[in-house]
Symmetry: C2
């Protein structure tokens, strides 16, 4: 799998090549930032599980899935004004928000080019609708920013769209390229979706529980930014009136809507 | 043509439908902002010229071309910190930069969904590569921000990518869906490209020559932002040393690189 992942990175590197210097620099920074490549691994793993053997579609599509994620990260870091990710300075911190917005657009467009070359209608449909699902989840999250009493239902809807949809697509792709039955495709899609939900819930909990060194990101950022996630929702559900009012007051001060 | 354009607007409106309120509001604002829909008109006009008669692919693809443009505009206005466009408040001015970034992503993703449904490999290839060409042009422009002595060659490269490429795609699409020969496709592509270059040069000149009421945007913004366009390049080429130094000094103060 290690060998396959480095092939995915080669695809990303070669397909993002541009004679625009700034793109070149930012792409290199991104590739060297040491992401876990979980989504790409899911596509590779599920392709392998489904016995996809001949060809390099698993590599190319793992690269696509990873690129959709990378494009989202670049924009997310601008939106959240993040300065650190994976223990390193974020692109927006180094090159500014403007560059991150445009290079994010570039990544997404390049990703569509790779998908179009792969030329499978089912996958094109899946990944393009996943991409718009992610954007909707991100907007929904923004719309509810600063809402300390956000419903758990809304939280689940947000993480389903912004995270689980791409995990589900990443796993389903493996079954599609191996020409598996609908039942098998659905099974892998469901596995990816549940894994994605669990992943995001854990990630949101780590924002309260971890340390900067281990997490690679600033701790407590969600709370200070007025981004309501499951830990806060549960605290709010279980709190008494006094505790709730205390949280509401803090959110009023710290989490002013900055749409 | 008026009837066709309103069909294009219907497609855009129905395809951007989302149960996320903020998206709904921003899309409506965008649709009511009274753009000229030049790119959509080019696709419709060229489809008509090539005698594409049966079907609604001209409508759907005109919507795609317009959506690529709209997504770019939303991000451009964040990058340029614009507060007025087409005589109205920009989305980023009303809903903030974060919303504009995310809804721009949403528009682009939805546009890919429509293209995928249209299901024509040649058009998918054309429009996805156009989209990455635009992003590269935008990054190149950013990279050269604050450069008062920018080469005319770089300027032409920038506007070719950020503007002319989409005009060329818009016109070529008409020939593709009407199954015209390569020669005819190339001819319409070339027409679109030249029209796009002329359009951007005129637009850049209007930033120096027009009035806010007629132009619908703030005047002199390029200069004050350190964005070098053809009028400034020519002034610089023709200026004597004293005049050039004067411009360099102003750019140092006003046009600080804000990448």
């Amino acid at each position: 799998m290690d060998q396959k992942i480095s092939l995915v990175e080669n695809v990303i590197k070669s397909r993002l090549e541009s004679d625009v210097n700034l793109i070149h620099e930012m792409v290199n920074h991104h590739l060297n930032s040491g992401g876990k490549r979980i989504r790409a691994l899911l596509t590779l793993g599920c392709s392998n599980l489904c016995k996809y053997l001949n060809g390099s579609r698993d590599i190319n599509l793992a690269a696509c899935v990873e690129l959709i994620h990378s494009a989202t990260l670049l924009h997310d870091d601008v939106i959240d004004m993040s300065s650190i990710r994976r223990g390193k300075k974020t692109a927006n911190k180094i090159w500014g928000n403007q560059s991150s917005i445009l290079v994010g657009d570039y990544l997404l467009s390049r990703c569509f080019e790779i998908m179009v070359e792969d030329d499978d209608h089912e996958i094109l449909k899946l990944l393009s609708s996943t991409s718009s699902e992610i954007a909707q989840g991100e907007v929904l999250q923004l719309q509810h920013k600063g809402e300390v009493d956000m419903l758990e239902e809304i939280y689940l809807k947000i993480i389903n769209s912004k995270t689980a949809a791409l995990f589900a697509a990443a796993t389903k792709v493996g079954a599609i390229i191996a020409n598996k039955s609908k039942k098998e495709k659905d099974a892998l899609e469901s596995y990816g979706k549940n894994l994605g939900m669990a992943f995001q819930i854990a990630d949101d909990a780590l924002d309260y529980l971890s340390t900067k060194n281990i997490f690679g990101k600033e701790i407590g950022k969600d709370f200070y930014e007025g981004k309501t996630t499951l830990p806060l929702i549960i605290i709010f559900q279980r709190g008494n009136t006094e505790e709730r009012n205390f949280l509401i007051e803090i959110f009023k001060k710290k989490g002013k809507k900055r749409r």
